[in-house]
């Protein structure tokens, strides 16, 4: 009887692990984008990049374009966010907006410095969107921040401590009143 449950449980765990998603990048809409990371000296295309391994702090020389049949008098807004596992909040990397623009492209340099709560060495989702009168573009790419769980140990230690704390509370709940 126990062996049957072990086999069923093992099968479920195997299926869950085997169904883990593969690395990919998705970009939809009339936009293109690319960024060159200064410390790496590498350029990544938004539409073609698979999983990126990025530093926690860097300067990015970026270029973004959009196709528009009537470029005059458009409005747009957009943002890039790094999704973290719950209960951690998403990190806003960059945002922009303009109520009246004719521009079809933008270039510049952007400095970023990720906060300590961003886990290192694991796959995260970087998501972006650009909502424009000419059309909406959305994109996502898998990124990994350089380092490992103990490169910036505070989130790891806090997470372990919270697990032990919650486990202790559950243990107390199982004691007699």
């Amino acid at each position: 009887m126990h062996r049957r449950w072990l086999i069923v449980g093992g099968g479920v765990v195997f299926l869950l692990l085997a169904s883990a998603p593969v690395a990919h990048a998705v970009l939809s809409g009339p936009c293109t984008g690319q960024g060159t990371f200064e410390s790496q000296g590498r350029t990544y295309e938004a539409s073609t990049s698979d999983k990126l391994v990025l530093p926690a702090k860097d300067s990015v020389a970026y270029t973004g374009t959009i196709d528009a049949a009537q470029p005059e008098g458009r409005s747009h807004r957009g943002e890039i966010t790094l999704k973290l596992p719950p209960p951690l909040p998403s990190i806003a990397i960059a945002d922009w907006s303009d109520d009246d623009t004719d521009a079809l492209s933008d270039t510049g340099t952007y400095d970023y410095d990720l906060p300590f709560i961003v886990p290192r060495g694991v796959t995260l989702n970087l998501e972006g969107e650009h909502v424009d009168t000419a059309g909406t573009c959305t994109g996502s790419v898998e990124v990994e921040i350089e380092g490992g769980p103990f490169t910036a140990p505070l989130p790891t230690v806090i997470s372990f401590a919270l697990t032990i704390g919650a486990g202790s509370m559950a243990w107390v709940a199982g004691k007699a009143r």
Binding site: K83, P85, A166, W171
Partner: protein, 73 residues
């Protein structure tokens, strides 16, 4: 059946335990962010904590006062 544990505390603590255990596994690179395993751990934590509170206390039963009296006689 008289409840002798703390099922509400157990459910909340179990839920948090499952959530943080999933976060630990993710931070250590054992499971990906969108793994179903993290959701399952949260649900298992909730169910386990609730069961712990409902079925408490575990281990051999302490003798009741009446049983203790009989033993003394």
């Amino acid at each position: 059946m008289k409840r002798r544990g703390r099922p509400v505390l157990g459910a909340i603590a179990g839920l948090l335990f499952g959530l943080f255990l999933g976060l630990d596994l993710f931070i250590l690179g054992v499971v990906p962010l969108d793994s179903v395993l993290i959701t399952i751990l949260v649900l298992l934590g909730l169910a386990g904590g609730l069961a712990l509170g409902l079925l408490a206390p575990f281990g051999p039963k302490a003798p009741t006062a009446a049983e203790a009296d009989v033993t003394a006689d």
